[in-house]
């Protein structure tokens, strides 16, 4: 079956585009010839069963796979037209532009303020102490956390509740002013209320950022994303508008997966 995995020509150029990406862990192939485009200021969701490669693929987008020595990535991944795997690319700059939020909320065991201030500090984004404070407060506000922690910025970030920790991680990611935020199952450890808050936050953040989210919850993908990509056994099976995927998927594998059938 011929599938058009790219966006139609009417939308503007994608902020990221991947072509024929393969990822190997040693001899094992984790990603098999995946091509897809990520549109700016949209939420793109990656869904699929465990081990389908959705997280692996997402970690290619900011080269987090570099930390795994056995991982080898081939193919062409471009961010705003530049090949991110080119030897000239500064990974630090790349990760500054493409932030990441992880499955398990992982605040540093430091104060809430220092957590958010860490990124701006290492990238020298703040011109003065006041400016740094400004960045921290703005980021916390954007992450919808400021009101809850305004009076205890010097308390440990690990003392917050799970949902607050995750929003702190989002604030931390926002603080370095990235263009894209990758979210790796950000709500998998959260209760439905905390999840709803983060989903609402994503909806608001969409105006300023491009969001890519990996999620186990199809309902979440359906709720938050504009486009959904379905991965299966390392392959991209289907990539389309989210409403199409959830009302009328083109591929039987997608259909079986999202409707909870034995695939």
């Amino acid at each position: 079956m011929e599938l058009s995995m790219t966006l139609d020509a009417t939308t503007k150029a994608p902020i990221m585009s991947a072509k024929n990406v393969d990822v190997f862990y040693g001899a094992k192939q984790a990603i098999d010839d995946v091509s897809l485009d990520i549109a700016e200021n949209q939420i793109t969701a990656f869904i699929g069963p465990s081990g389908c490669g959705k997280s692996t693929f997402m970690r290619c987008l900011n080269r987090m796979n570099d930390t795994i020595s056995s991982a080898k990535v081939t193919g062409d991944i471009r961010f705003a037209g530049q090949d991110i795997y080119s030897s000239k690319v500064d990974v630090v700059a790349l990760r500054k532009r493409i932030g990441m939020v992880f499955q398990k909320a992982n605040p540093f065991p430091k104060s809430i303020f220092d957590n958010v201030a860490y990124g701006p500090r290492i990238h020298d984004l703040a011109e003065s102490k006041d400016h740094l404070e400004d960045i921290v407060v703005t980021s916390l506000k954007r992450a919808g956390l400021y009101d809850e922690v305004a009076d205890r910025l010097d308390e440990s970030g690990t003392g917050l509740s799970g949902g607050q920790q995750q929003r702190l991680c989002i604030a931390r990611a926002i603080a370095v002013d990235p263009q894209i935020i990758l979210m790796d199952e950000p709500c998998s450890a959260l209760d439905p209320i905390a999840t709803a808050k983060i989903e609402e936050l994503m909806e608001q953040m969409k105006e300023d950022y491009t969001i890519v989210i990996v999620t186990h919850s199809m309902a979440q993908a359906a709720r938050v994303s504009n486009k959904t990509a379905f991965f299966h056994l390392g392959k991209l099976i289907e990539f389309d508008e989210t409403d199409t995927i959830f009302t009328n998927p083109a591929n039987t594998l997608t259909q079986n997966y999202i409707s909870g059938r034995i695939g």
Partner: protein, 425 residues
């Protein structure tokens, strides 16, 4: 009809019996080990406690200027080296006027420690104003008198086999009845170096030797061990070479300590010609010994730092080095410090490698720095345990108590640091 019965059966009884039996095995095992420990500690404390007290004899000594400082120069060196023996003997004569025979006078004098003349000299030198006055001075009794006072001389032993004769005992009793003999806190034990005379032998030299050695050990082993661990854990790619290094580090941890001593002898003393018998070399050898332990402990601590902390920093665009030194190492530091202290505690107890580099010499002077010749606590214990004089028996135990106190302090420091610095993630 399903079976809803809850109360059964032989199986349950058997299971309970087995559980109880197992718990009892555990309790018995604990009881045995605790009783061993209690036995060891009581034995050591019982034997060693005496060493913290010392018998002193009070004498009215006339400090005559002609004897001490005939020229009146008040030179501290000359004053301390003056001949105090006649002064002391005169003072003794005052207490026991009946004793007139020269040989008996000498016997009387021997109730005091042979070191009491030096002690007296030191005191006068420190306070020259005493010259020309008569002072009531408490001077250390001889080791035999000391033991007698502590009821450690078996009087059933025939007189000819005893060093403290019946007449000596009678004199001591006389002194006791006049209140001129007393037991007081043994300051010397904590302020003196080693001595041939048990009464004068102190632990300070050995303790400082150990302390300096450990300082050197820490200064060398801690940074080296931690840098090695950080590099191996955070940076090194996994290949044959790093595997080999890892295996060898594990092997080194198991190498007998005397081998490290030989290594130190061959390299530090013979090749680099560093000063023999010094805490500097001792510390270096101990560092060699403690390093594998520190590396292994530090690596396991580094491994226990959650990966997601590294991910968080890398994901923000921190470089590898920033990630490691801003986050991973600070988080691992309490654990690494603890590991280091425990490794050093082990090194503190080591005797064998120190023997090889000559820290077993008989050294009276208290070391003032790392390049002064010195001995160490476990070596001192070994030396005293080996000495024939009976007075050293209790000092050996006392030295063990000091060593154990050292160890306990170090372990408590480790616990404290861990509690204080540890951060939950």
């Amino acid at each position: 009809m399903p079976d809803y019965t809850l109360t059964t059966s032989k199986q349950l009884q058997r299971r309970h019996a087995a559980e109880k039996r197992f718990q009892w095995y555990g309790r018995i095992a604990i009881a045995i080990s605790v009783s061993f420990l209690v036995f060891m500690f009581t034995a050591i404390i019982f034997r060693g406690a005496g060493a913290f007290q010392q018998t002193e004899i009070g004498l009215n000594v006339a400090l005559e200027e002609q004897v001490i400082d005939p020229q009146g120069l008040r030179d501290a060196g000359d004053i301390s080296r003056a001949n105090y023996k006649p002064l002391i003997m005169d003072a003794m004569q005052d207490i026991f006027p009946d004793v007139s025979e020269r040989r008996e006078k000498n016997q009387l004098y021997r109730l005091l420690s042979s070191a009491s003349v030096f002690e007296l000299g030191e005191r006068v030198a420190k306070n020259p104003d005493l010259i020309g006055t008569t002072q009531t001075l408490w001077l250390p009794a001889s080791s035999e008198v000391d033991l007698y006072m502590k009821d450690k001389i078996d009087q059933d032993v025939p007189e000819e086999l005893r060093r403290l004769k019946d007449r000596d005992i009678a004199w001591v009793e006389t002194l006791r009845s006049q209140g001129l003999i007393k037991k007081s806190f043994n300051k010397n034990f904590f302020t003196n170096g080693d001595s041939r005379e048990p009464v004068m032998a102190g632990i300070l030299g050995a303790a400082l030797g150990s302390f300096f050695s450990l300082m050197i050990c820490f200064i060398i082993a801690f940074p080296l061990g931690i840098l090695t661990a950080v590099y191996l854990e955070e940076y090194a790619t996994k290949n044959k070479l790093t595997d080999l290094i890892e295996v060898n580090i594990n092997n080194l941890a198991a190498v007998p300590s005397i081998v490290f001593g030989l290594l130190g002898l061959a390299i530090f003393l013979n090749f680099f010609e560093l000063p023999r018998s010094t805490p500097l070399v001792g510390g270096m050898v101990l560092a060699l010994m403690a390093m594998p332990t520190i590396i292994i402990a530090s690596r396991s601590i580094l491994r226990s730092v959650p990966q997601n902390i590294r991910d968080a920093a890398l994901g923000l665009g921190a470089s590898k080095t920033q990630t490691t030194f801003h986050h991973v190492v600070p988080l691992a530091m309490p654990g690494m410090l603890t590991g280091t202290i425990l490794g050093m505690a082990r090194a503190l107890g080591e005797t064998a490698p120190l023997l090889m580099i000559g820290m077993i010499a008989f050294i009276v002077d208290v070391p003032k720095g790392v390049t002064d010749v010195a001995t160490a606590l476990p070596v001192q214990i070994f030396l005293w345990a080996d000495s024939p004089e009976k007075g050293f028996v209790e000092r050996t135990s006392a030295a063990i108590i000091v060593l154990l106190a050292f160890l306990i302090v170090m372990n408590l420091t480790a616990v404290y640091l861990r509690r204080k610095l540890e951060r939950r993630w």
